[in-house]
């Protein structure tokens, strides 16, 4: 079943959009947009759930009613605001970049900045320009992905983070992705491309914040290439408005002996969908994917994580943990692919959920596609409630019941938080998680 009203709307929106974008876009971007528009139109919103494994547990119909009335796109007059990093109070960061309603509005101008504004940076170096051309929209597979195609059609500016070979950045680069649109039904399409050269190390914070209570869709696409022998630590903190739809499509290529670590913390949004596709492109690549989601009321969170072990001697560790209260719902769909010839792959995934209410529901759907014999694949899933005997034990030592509960819930999340090596980020995520947990425990 295809939606017909929506695509028409896109055509109209796109022709408006094109009046501006055609003045900015290089030819190659123009053709990417055209192709993506075709795909988005032909796919339509994935509202059919029957026979659609990918969207089986997540009902997207509600998007249809309110959304797509207002697209955040560029205004020809938009000039990025320059942020002099030195003026920022927070010297724990290397640099910071701000998105507003999907549009990259800021750029740092410190000497060793690694961020440029996609399509809106007059000073973009030929090297950066090459990276853009080589990789933008090359990682994400658009063919069956309406939301990624939509983003690729309409993204306006964006951030390119290019870290050359042999570069070691100790402090994090912070992407602050902010929603503030007052118009109901706004659609924002943040676009991020990260290219890490060989033998380099970097830390990326991707934070989603909201300054509005309207219903909006934040539809981000993130593409990441990690060069040979490099390490990327990637932290996502998502605290979108409780009315919003928050969708991310992240694709990561890991080259030989490179390592990718991702820690995602989701606490906001009414409907959250994270697609994370990680591909070990070369031998020796490894990934560690951690996630915490804390939801209540009618929040719905759906994590689709695919690890594609395309090459031998690659390994992956995945641990997602959910804390669910109220009538909330979580879906974890973890797929592990081991390609033919990808011997000595070591892959493990687990999803554990703590249910704080009888009305909350967590679904875990593991899937293995293994085309090679000499591999180790493991999987674990758990779903449980708070251990009341542990609560009594804590109380018997003088600890009030509410504090006892929050200690146990926090301990559950802490299995992931304690693993965060960067102290500044660990403390930040700790407070982020505490903030949400306090709300959950208050409501109880």
């Amino acid at each position: 079943m295809k939606e017909t009203t929506i695509p028409n709307q896109f055509e109209k929106t796109f022709s408006e959009f094109e009046k501006i974008s055609s003045k900015i876009d290089p030819e190659w971007v123009k053709s990417i947009r055209k192709e993506s528009l075709l795909i988005a139109n032909s796919l339509g919103l994935p509202t059919a759930r029957r026979g659609n494994e990918e969207w089986k547990y997540t009902d997207i119909k509600a998007l249809n009613k309110t959304l797509f009335s207002d697209f955040s796109t560029y205004n020809i007059d938009d000039k990025p605001i320059e942020i002099n990093y030195k003026n920022l109070e927070d010297d724990s960061l290397h640099e910071k970049i701000v998105f507003k309603d999907g549009i990259c509005i800021s750029k740092t101008f410190q000497k060793d900045s690694y961020v440029s504004n996609i399509l809106n940076d007059n000073d973009i170096s030929p090297e950066n320009s090459n990276q853009l051309r080589n990789y933008l929209a090359k990682l994400t597979i658009l063919d069956e992905n309406f939301f990624a195609a939509l983003n690729t059609t309409f993204f306006s500016f964006g951030a390119l983070i290019y870290i050359p070979d042999n570069t070691n950045i100790t402090k994090p680069i912070h992407l602050s992705i902010e929603s503030s649109s007052q118009s109901e039904g706004n659609v924002a399409n943040p676009r991020i491309l990260v290219v890490l050269g060989k033998n380099s190390n970097a830390t990326l914070i991707e934070e989603y914040l909201s300054f509005t209570n309207t219903k909006y869709l934040n539809n981000a696409v993130i593409e990441i290439i990690i060069g040979e022998n490099s390490n990327l630590n990637h932290y996502r903190m998502q605290n979108e408005s409780i009315e919003s739809y928050a969708i991310t499509n992240t694709t990561v290529w890991i080259e030989s002996y490179a390592h990718y670590e991702s820690t995602v913390t989701d606490i906001g949004g009414s409907l959250v969908r994270n697609n994370l596709n990680v591909i070990t492109k070369q031998e020796g690549a490894s990934a560690k994917l951690n996630g915490i989601y804390i939801v209540d009321e009618k929040q719905h969170i759906d994590n689709q994580v695919i690890i594609d072990h395309a090459m031998p001697n690659t390994n992956s560790r995945e641990l997602y943990k959910g804390i669910l209260s109220g009538h909330s719902r979580s879906v974890f769909h973890g797929s592990i692919i081991v390609r033919e010839g990808a011997y000595k792959v070591d892959a493990n995934q687990a999803d554990k959920n703590l249910l704080l209410s009888d009305n909350a529901e967590a679904d875990t759907k593991p899937a293995f596609w293994v085309y090679c014999d000499d591999v180790k694949c493991g999987h674990g899933a758990a779903c449980g409630k708070i251990d009341e005997s542990a609560i009594f034990y804590l109380q018997s030592r003088g600890i009030p019941e509410i504090q006892a509960r929050s200690m146990l819930i926090y301990a559950f999340a802490n299995e992931i938080i304690k693993d965060i090596k960067d102290e500044f980020i660990r403390e930040y995520i700790e407070s982020f998680v505490q903030y949400k947990l306090e709300k959950l425990i208050e409501i109880r």
């Binding site: 009594f392 034990y393 804590l394 109380q395 018997s396 030592r397 003088g398 600890i399 200690m407």
Partner: protein, 247 residues
Amino acid sequence: MNNILDIHSLHATIGEKKILNGIDLKIQSGEVHAIMGPNGSGKSTLANVLAGHPSCKVIDGNALFLGQDLVSLEPEVRAQLGLFLSFQNPAEIPGVRLDHFMRAGINAIRRSKNQDDVDILGFDRAITKKAEVVSMDPQLIKRSVNEGFSGGEKKRSEIMQMAVFEPTLAILDEPDSGLDVDALKIVAEGINTLRTKDNSLLLITHYNRILNYIEPDFVHILINGKIVHSGDKTLAQEVENKGYDWL
């Protein structure tokens, strides 16, 4: 001598089942009372009722601790007043370190008295000393509470906690079960070092052997949720020889 605990005609149920059928017991400061009885006679239930376990319901009677009826108090308030339960089977708490667990308890108790939180470093040093009381491996203090602990390590941990919390009344529910002779001796002697003229012990046990190390002032026999016989320490020996059937 002060009245520490005064239990009067205490009746309690778990679910639909009547477990305690009228308990009377008086404990004064400095005293050690042993409770013995066959399996399932209600020993742990009595301990749980006194500590405030939510699944035990008191349907009649009362239990005054330092003059205050425990029955209506939250478990944490009982602990804050100076009651301590060493569990027969303490729960595991994954992700909560034993030292943090104890510090949270001590701080909660201090806050209830409007005292400041403990100094973290000072507390760490103090608990290392307390671990020595029962020769507990100091590494265990940094691990998750009871997770992967052996039966003996759990018992040592409970008594170490007693040393940390310094309760007015410690209820020890089978601190001897699962311990070999050497460990039993260490734990029992540890308990003895914690005794003062101001605190009291309610020692629940299945066997006489721990009473060779911790000498009770009174021994009570609990059968079917009732104290059927009380006496001095010779009663324990008698039970050891003759079993419970003669009572």
